[in-house]
């Protein structure tokens, strides 16, 4: 069983839902990322989504773009991100790590080279934001050969035919973008999320994570009652951005612990 499957199976037994925090590798600098990943796990993260910095993060809002810019100021690229995951794996063999980024850095490295190195470094899954299923069959094949999960996005506007297509290609979990818009947007319509998740579940057997627009414990709890996993990104990046380096770990830990306990209060039906 893969690390991602193991995590979801164990949560299911405990009647709990997954918390998936997102941080950008190299933000605020390259020395902080691995310690921050360990802190996230201690504070209650089940899976870590690690952003690969890119110069043109078109699908992200200003908060995550700024985190990418901070990382790029330290010249953190895909190779460095893989090194960070290998470093993290020295002390954590359990927590799945999913890389989230854009197509161009993986194309620059080469699909096959990337897939084999990522596997060696202990990466579990990869979400490439600007690779819709139609354009990435070869990419997914390389990922599968190396035992990496291909994670896909679904959105409120995804029609049924595409849901079926994603259902065939996706592994690990799928990531339902709960809002139209970019990361960091607000206004989450829980009724709409609930209806859409019911539709998704009739086609998709793997766990469904929900992200975009989750900014506090209350929303996290509400989403945990509907989805298998709660993804929180921009809110954590804001905390990193507004904290001094000495306070950063403490502030992020407090935030993630708060989200964890809110999610654990959710009434969970499996």
């Amino acid at each position: 069983m893969s690390r991602i499957e193991t995590v979801f199976a164990s949560l299911r037994k405990q009647h709990k839902k997954a918390l998936i925090p997102f941080i950008t590798a190299g933000d605020p600098d390259q020395t902080m990322t691995v310690p921050l990943m360990h802190e996230l796990v201690k504070a209650g993260a089940d899976i870590i989504e690690l952003g690969v910095p890119f110069s043109d993060p078109m699908a992200d809002g200003p908060t995550i773009q700024r985190s990418s810019e901070r990382a790029l100021r330290h010249h953190v690229g895909l190779k460095d991100v893989l090194t960070m995951v290998a470093e993290f794996r020295k002390n954590d063999l359990i927590t799945p790590v999913v890389l989230m980024g854009y197509a161009n850095p993986v194309e620059a490295m080469g699909h096959e080279v990337f897939a084999s190195r990522a596997r060696e470094c202990g990466v579990d899954g990869v979400l490439t934001v600007d690779y819709p299923p139609e354009e990435c069959e070869e990419w997914v094949r390389h990922l599968k050969v190396h035992g990496l999960d291909a994670i896909f996005l679904l959105s409120p506007t995804t029609p049924q035919s595409r849901i079926e297509r994603v259902a065939q290609m996706a592994q690990g979990y799928v990531y339902y973008v709960s809002l139209k818009g970019v990361t960091g947007s607000s206004h989450l319509d829980l009724n709409e999320v609930s209806n859409k998740l019911n539709l998704l579940r009739s086609h998709i057997s793997i766990p469904i994570g929900v992200g975009f627009g989750i900014r506090d414990g209350e929303t996290a709890k509400a989403v945990a009652e509907l989805a298998d996993a709660v993804v929180v990104g921009s809110r954590i990046i804001e905390e990193i951005e507004s904290s001094s380096k000495s306070q950063l770990m403490e502030n992020v830990t407090r935030l993630v612990k708060g989200l964890r306990s809110a999610i654990d209060e959710a009434v969970v039906k499996y």
Binding site: Y102, A103, N104, E107, T157
Partner: protein, 399 residues
């Protein structure tokens, strides 16, 4: 016989083009493709488009024989396709009218656009005013400073100009920001992309609207010169004016097609925007194409004296025309472009845009190597009034 029939159904030009966007944009692009493919063949739509091009833009734009300059250069005859005479002063308006008419039929009340030099922003603001739509233009804050007069023109036309502070604060960042706006407001908003880049159907749709340039040229050449030109020359940033001229000639393999990229301070300086000459294929802004990027796949800041050519990507159809060797791509430096700018002013009384000056500069290099009966058709894609500040600065003067 028509042989060339790209792109394919999913927008591919060989390995280039396609749709590389987040899932959140897929449905909007699909809606756009379906609507465009419908109206492309709709006689009312085409009739309105033709009427607007004639009566509002002032088409057809003439082909002008630059006789004095050709004589001075002492070789091939240089002919200019006068897109600079269009309403708003550049070829950009051909495309914005097409997209605005489509937006109207799709019931979108609001249009957004990205702009570098400001020409596409002005052309978008113009059609928004013409058809009574709200208009928001995204522009890198660096470009807002460089192109102050165009910013004011857009405001006069009723548009809101949003300065973009992220990244390198230029065209590519404006494009990122416009995409974000579109994702968020897709129900009532139409995104008017200004060049033949972006996800399918944009490269195809923008090309189709711009092919009026080449279609007119073919008729005019036959009528006025009794034959087609020996070579077509056009500047390439994203490449919309070039593809507009080239496309109707793709199957006429006797006609050379030459795209001129911005070599900035020189290719060897690393400060340029010559994507096809120096870049590698990758994925940016929704399509696969040549990109100026570093070893990590990060997009590198480009340089050109002309803001309209200052872009690290290029339209995917140009990437394909390069690989298939149907078109040639060459570079012209800032200073060569400036020389051509001054030459056209002095010898022909025409002030060209700095973008178009790149195409002119290559024509000036090529003409003396060819016989006097050869014909070079250069796309004079825009007029140079907008470039006064840049040219005076480059000449060490202040107004």
């Amino acid at each position: 016989m028509k042989v060339y029939d790209l792109p394919d159904k999913r927008g591919h030009f060989g390995p280039y083009g396609g749709i590389f966007v987040a899932e959140t944009l897929i449905a909007a692009l699909e809606e756009l493709r379906i609507q465009y493919e419908h109206y492309r063949d709709d006689t009312d739509f085409q009739a309105e488009f033709a009427y607007e091009l004639k009566h509002y833009v002032g088409r057809p734009s003439p082909i002008y024989h630059a006789k004095r300059w050709s004589t001075i250069l002492g070789g091939a005859q240089i002919l200019l396709k006068r897109e600079d005479l269009n309403h708003t002063g550049a070829h950009k308006i051909n495309n914005t009218i097409g997209q605005a008419l489509l937006a109207k039929r799709m019931g979108k009340q609001r249009v957004i656009a990205e702009t570098g030099a400001g020409q596409h922003g002005v052309a978008s603001a113009t059609v928004a005013a013409r058809y009574g739509m709200e208009c928001v233009v995204y522009m890198g804050s660096e470009d807002v400073k460089r192109q102050a007069s165009n910013v004011y023109r857009m405001k006069l036309l009723g548009a809101t100009v949003v300065p973009v502070e992220s990244g390198s604060r230029t065209l590519k960042d404006a494009l990122n920001e416009a995409m974000r706006d579109w994702v968020t407001h897709v129900e009532n908003t139409f995104y008017i992309i200004g060049t033949v880049a972006g996800p399918h159907p944009y490269p195809m749709m923008v090309r189709d609207f711009q092919t009026i340039i080449g279609r007119e040229a073919k008729v005019q050449m036959q009528e006025e010169y009794g034959r087609q030109p020996d070579a077509l020359i056009a500047c390439v940033g994203g490449g919309s004016n070039a593809i507009g001229l080239f496309y109707p000639y793709i199957d006429d393999t006797g006609v050379r097609m030459i795209g001129v990229e911005a070599a900035g301070h020189g290719i060897e300086s690393g400060q340029h925007a010559a994507t096809l000459m120096t870049g590698r294929p990758g994925v940016l802004h929704g399509n696969r194409t040549y990109l100026i990027q570093d070893d990590d796949g990060q997009i590198i800041e480009t340089h050109s004296i002309s803001a309209g050519l200052d872009y690290p990507g290029v339209g995917p159809e140009h990437a394909w025309l390069k690989d298939s060797e149907r078109a040639e791509y060459v570079g012209i430096t800032d200073s060569e472009a400036l020389d051509a700018f001054h030459a056209l002013c002095r010898y022909e009384g025409i002030m060209p845009a700095l973008e178009s000056s790149h195409a002119l500069a290559y024509a000036a290099k090529l003409a003396p190597t060819l016989a006097k009966n050869q014909l070079l058709l250069v796309n004079l894609s825009g007029r140079g009034d907008k470039d006064m500040a840049t040219v005076t600065q480059a000449s060490g003067l202040t107004l």
